[in-house]
Homo-oligomer: 137 residues x 3
């Protein structure tokens, strides 16, 4: 078995942003030389996520608004009063996956016809690190 | 290390359905010859999921109704107006896991006493592909 | 490739509790001798979870209260009426991850600066088993 590791840093200008990172993940898998296995992508921060969804007009904005409705910014969280990030972004980070795995077959990401891999920033404006690990043959 | 890949297609008659796929996953693990490692099961569509839960009377219906309450069908999503699938099913797909991993030990799925693996269809009536990947020894 | 498996049992006194298990996971990774790969931690019960979040004052209590708001204890679930665990804890178990994966690099867990691994008990007072599996080199 081979393993391959890559780290990268993302910094969004906006507070909230959803970025398609599929080309970056596919490039890392190709660089790894691993043609069959699993790739894991995980932000090293609780107020960011990596998820898979369709890349369709309007959908990403619907997702963002829905997240803010499920775990709204509030002033009466225990955590929010004393620290820089409001608890709401940690709760939103819990609804979203903490890490995402994609099957790699024949050197390609198995995403299906419409799905793409997105980095989800819920508390931007500062650098965030992401780790990518491929295990396979 | 060995890897093993299988694809299968599921098509439900009903719009929404939850199907126990544990026997199918266990059979794939046996066919792989891998006795120790991890199996990943992932639908290749954003409006379906694979999750693990108890197979108990009433529970699966409770889950379905709760999903529809957390992310209801609505006419004012940006995405929903223009495409076939309403945004609600994508949001429900985000609450549910995008992929599920199960430990394999001694050739068996490590599920515990009551848990089973379920395919969750939230927008059925059309064929959906699922990829299964085993990595291990 | 090497794989390494460990099982442990947790029993909380309280009904709901969030426990930092990072030292236990790091010790298992060291014992495995695997320096590069992925570790998976998964409770073998539907009413418990393992997640990653920041270990910050107030936050864990915010998370617990928010879970109880998203999937409250109710008497009219189909499942809850007939069995020991109310459906609410299964729904909360669905919001939380069914299993958590962490990258292992240079023999260390890749968690970033503030994140820790937590066992989340939503229906305690009885023994719960957790499986930990490392795959890598």
């Amino acid at each position: 078995m081979t393993t391959y590791t890559e780290h990268f840093t993302l910094q969004t200008d906006k507070r909230r942003e959803i970025i398609n990172i599929t080309p970056r993940v596919q490039a890392a898998v190709e660089k790894s030389g691993i043609t069959d296995g699993i790739v894991m992508i995980s932000p090293l921060h609780s107020n960011a996520s990596v998820f898979i969804n369709d890349d369709e007009p309007g959908l990403l904005q619907d997702i963002d608004e829905w997240l803010q409705k499920l775990a709204p910014h509030r002033d009466d969280y225990r955590h929010g009063a004393k620290h820089e990030s409001n608890a709401s972004v940690h709760l939103q980070g819990l609804i979203l996956p903490g890490q995402t795995m994609v099957a790699v077959t024949g050197g390609k990401l198995e995403l299906g016809a419409w799905r793409q891999i997105f980095y989800v920033e819920v508390d931007g404006g500062r650098p965030k690190r992401v780790v990518l690990k491929v295990v396979g043959v």
